[in-house]
Amino acid sequence: MKTVILGLGNPILYDDGAGCEAAEQLRRWVVAPEVEIRTASVGGLRILDEITGFDKAIIIDALMTGRTEPGTVTKMSVEELSGDLHASCLHDLSFSEALKLGKMMGMMIPEQITIYGIEVADPYTLQEGCSSAVLDGVGEAVKRIKEDLVEEH
């Protein structure tokens, strides 16, 4: 099964880079040729470009609900994804709309899409790295994704 692990987020926006950091940590561990690791700082349609052509996608992103402690990891499906993720720009499609559009246009959208959200505290300050609580969350997400991959392969 061709799988893409996509870390989303902005590595120069402090906690916002959590998804990219998790993907980079997994890059050091994953050697399976059918698994590709990618990172990107984009939204909507451009996310679609990164996952098209794969059977399965695991997306890791910063999450900001304010309802859980920073570092809390939440696994969810596309259906469970709401507008809760933090702000971006008006100029794009939502991810679920992009997926619907891709399917309508006959693009090869992964059958399985899993999202790992890492609760963050500050995704607005221009700074590299993440806060320590969020880094703990990154470690937790990496551990759970490894377990998923091991189970599958």
Partner: protein
Amino acid sequence: MKQIKIDPITRLEGHGKIDIFLNDDGSVANAYFQVPELRGFEKFCQGRPVEELPRITTRLCGVCPEAHHLASAKACDAVYGVDIPPTAKKLRELLYSVFFAADHAVHFYILAGPDFVCGPSAPVAERNILGLIAKVGIDAGKRVIKHRAQAQEIIQALGGKKIHQVSSIPGGVTIGLKDEDRQKWIGYCKDFVEFGQFTIKVLHDIVIANKGYVDLILSDAYTHKTYYMGMVDQNNKVNFYDGMIRVVGPDGKEFAKFEAKDYLQHIAEHVESYSYLKYPYLKQVGWKGLVDGPQSGVYRATPLSRLNASEGMATPLAQAEYEKFYETLTGDKTGRTPVHQTLATHWARVIELLYAAEHALELMSDPSVCDTDIRTIPKNIPHEGVGVVEAPRGTLYHHYVTDNKGIVTDANLIVGTTNNNAAISMSIKKAAQGVIKPGVEVTEGILNMVEMAFRAYDPCFGCATHTLAGQMPLEINLRNPRGEIVKVFRRS
């Protein structure tokens, strides 16, 4: 009306917020919008080699990394006092034109189109790209997707990376163009021009042919007479990559024309306690508050502004449409009488899309774009430089100061949307006053008509980041004269 203190947006909310204050009779007294702002850019840049900034600043925006990459590279050229070779300039401009055509297409079909094709008060579930495709046919959707894919292939090759470009460096570019690629991409650029013409036709068939929409565009609720800013070439034609910044007044007369490096002589920034985002204004007119007219320094920098600030388009098909635009909306096809209607920005954007496509084809058809002289090695001692490009949503300024080793000591940006902060606030208030009436229930459809004023600017506030949810969640609070929230609408 009682004065009400508005708390700045809390970080946890992390999204755009519009507060509409109603009078006792239910009419609109005032409206404000607030957005989160990124912090610490200047500090982040300090101590870094300036040549790193064209790569770093692409991360500032998940929508227009190309604009930041090139404004930053131009600022670096200026810091080192280096003129880049003509071929390098053509290659940067080629990448940028292709990007512009793709970016404007996304806005028209995904963001603006649904309001007009599906109707401004159609149910939210239908008022989106999927609803649009259902109405205009799947072929339109396929053309949008194909156009994007072709544009991305060129951007990836010329920019070195698909998303966060790396090819522009102080003194030129690192990646040249092979003739075999050029031959192939001439075909793509011809497709872009055809796609631009197709989009113009869609706009005419669906929007301009509908009297109701034309009345809406021309209505006072969506009109502000402001100054307009845009970059122009030596013939005062619209240019996205290089030229002088031209400002015209509400009467269409040239008010200022200046080089990028002099921007601080012309633009100042006003601060309001309720907003993190500053309000740029024309220094020589002065800040008079959120009001329009010749006495107010509020200016706009949008596709509409670029057309108003210019004397035409540099390519034939776009010029023909430019004349049609002004003839229809002002009766003067020369464009010397500005169009003040905010919703006409959508039409202006499509004219720019066509110009970008035509210009990309011109550049791609020029065999000299494959020359190998693409970099001038900087030899001067670095000091200070300003780089400006027209980003899709407005004029983008990058300004860096370094020590004599090229280490950044100071940095300042004015991004596209920030230019329009005051005008966006004014447009929201006026649209709200125009569509919210005493005794009539405020529905989602009515609020969408308020949002349309905001959306015409194609705002991009975080100027920052991605997000899986994609759209910026927007919250609209209706408040009574005591400031109490009486109704909340959320779009996410």
